[in-house]
């Protein structure tokens, strides 16, 4: 099973209309090469699931500016003015999700759970149209699992089985997204041999990863 592919081979698997999760937090950091290739290919009508829409000229921010996103599901869009513009004009649908709920909804999809019972968002517009479940006299919002066709994640050290180790603040949503998509592609800062990563050091098991592309090296 050949897991290491070229950026072109990877992006060839991604088609118009797909839902795509992309790791990163305010561009720290998106899988920049994969995203740039998506921009170049011009894949459109994407449902983009990410923490935020980055900055207009950084990583996934470019997908917004390039009008490739039909719907954005994110917790924060304030750093990319183009997101606000397209949202207000109705060009792009935006679903804003509290950050912890977003993380947990993705995890629930990966973990085979039916949803998330969270106190976050109760009494706010986030709760509109959603079921409220009472457990031992306390109310919780039922938030549904969130999965995608594709997850594009970014790792620091990745072995050829797809085992991933992240570094510092770049871990964020990546390990969660790796569990919740049909096709998972990791962009690796460094690709290492199987056995080079200590089994205690791996943060995303290779069974979740379908393909690996070389990144910044």
């Amino acid at each position: 099973m050949k897991k290491v592919v070229s950026i072109k081979e990877a992006v060839d698997m991604i088609e118009d209309g797909m839902s795509i999760m992309i790791g990163g937090f305010l561009g720290c950091k998106n899988p920049f090469k994969l995203v740039d290739a998506l921009v170049e290919k011009g894949v459109k009508d994407i449902t983009l699931i990410a923490n935020d829409s980055s900055f207009p000229d950084v990583g996934i921010g470019k997908l917004i500016v390039n009008k490739q996103v039909k719907k954005l599901i994110a917790s924060h869009v304030g750093t990319n003015k183009e997101t606000g513009r397209q949202m207000n004009s109705g060009e792009m649908e935006v679903e804003l999700v509290p950050q912890g709920t977003l993380a947990e909804r993705i995890r629930a999809a990966g973990a085979g759970l039916g949803g998330v019972l969270t106190p976050t968002g109760l009494g706010t517009i986030v709760a509109e149209g959603k079921d409220i479940i009472e457990v031992d006299g306390k109310e919780y919002l039922l938030e549904k699992p969130l999965k995608a066709d594709v997850a594009l994640i970014v790792g620091a050290r990745v072995d050829k089985k797809g085992n991933v180790r992240y570094t510092k603040a770049t871990r964020n949503f990546n390990p969660l997204m790796a569990t919740a998509a049909d096709l998972v592609i990791v962009e690796a800062d460094e690709i290492v041999e199987v056995g080079d990563l200590d089994p205690d050091d791996v943060m995303t098991p290779g069974i979740f990863v379908d393909y690996i592309v070389g990144g910044s090296e």
Binding site: F25, L26, G27, C28, K29, N51, D52, A74, S75, H76, V77, G78, T79, G84, M87, N88, V94, L96, P98, Q99, G100, T101, L102, A103, E104, R107, T118, P119, T120, G121, L122, G123, T124, I125, V126, A156, Y166, T167, K168, A169, T170, R171, N172, F173, N174, P175, L176, M203
Partner: protein, 218 residues
């Protein structure tokens, strides 16, 4: 001392040795500058770490180490990185002792609005909804009014971030506790009279007999 630093300094007094604290972007970030040296406070950054240190020195920025506002920061010895699910396990699960954040509006029920102005500004709630729901103590740190308009109200008019969540409000005019009976003014900046503060507030303040004075704002 300008209002922002005056507020931040007063908020810092609310923190206890050993606390885990999440500071919002902007004014709340300044609170870190006023934490007593001898205190061991652990700062949480909701993008995924504990033990946040000061801003990175120029030229020493690490592209893999930013805070939740995207600013280049550092991590202290004993710090820990984790993913977003674990980060919000910490936040939602009540493992953060205090969160300090700004507000567009706060009301006497402790309701908070700080994430959108419909049709105008919709940045998204980011981690704020989880933080104010999960943190043991929610401290709003902000200017008392916005260009003369009340921000502390009888009832919020903007879409809420959370219901009945705010414990304490610290402004340049005073310190206010949200109680079952309404907003209790516990301390006042000696620069202002009670009347000044009441006039700048859209809810009726409860003023106790033992109202204390804050440190003078010099």
């Amino acid at each position: 001392m300008d209002d922002k630093n005056y507020i931040a300094k007063r908020v810092a007094q609310e923190l206890n040795d050993g606390d885990v604290v999440n500071l919002g972007i902007g004014l709340p970030t300044l609170v870190a500058n006023y934490i007593p040296q001898e205190y061991e406070i652990t700062l949480q950054s909701e993008n995924g770490f504990l033990g946040m240190g000061p801003a990175a020195e120029e030229g020493k920025e690490d592209p893999c180490l930013v805070n939740a506002g995207g600013m280049h920061v550092t991590i202290n010895p004993g710090g820990v990185f984790f993913d977003s699910a674990d980060s919000f396990l910490i936040i939602r699960g009540g493992h953060v002792d205090a969160t300090v954040l700004g507000a567009l509006e706060v009301d006497e029920k402790g309701n908070l609005a700080n994430w959108m102005i419909p049709g105008k500004m919709v940045p998204g709630m980011g981690g704020a909804m989880d933080l104010v729901t999960g943190a043991k103590k929610v401290i709003v740190a902000m200017n008392h009014t916005a260009r003369g308009n009340h921000k502390i109200l009888k009832e919020c008019t903007l879409p809420l971030t959370a219901v009945n969540a705010v414990d304490l409000i610290v402004t340049e005019m005073g310190v206010m506790e949200v109680t079952d009976k309404g907003i209790l003014l516990t301390e006042i900046n000696p620069k202002y009279s009670v009347e000044d503060v009441q006039n700048a507030t859209g809810a009726t303040l409860i003023v106790p007999e033992d109202l204390k004075e804050m440190e003078p704002q010099d």
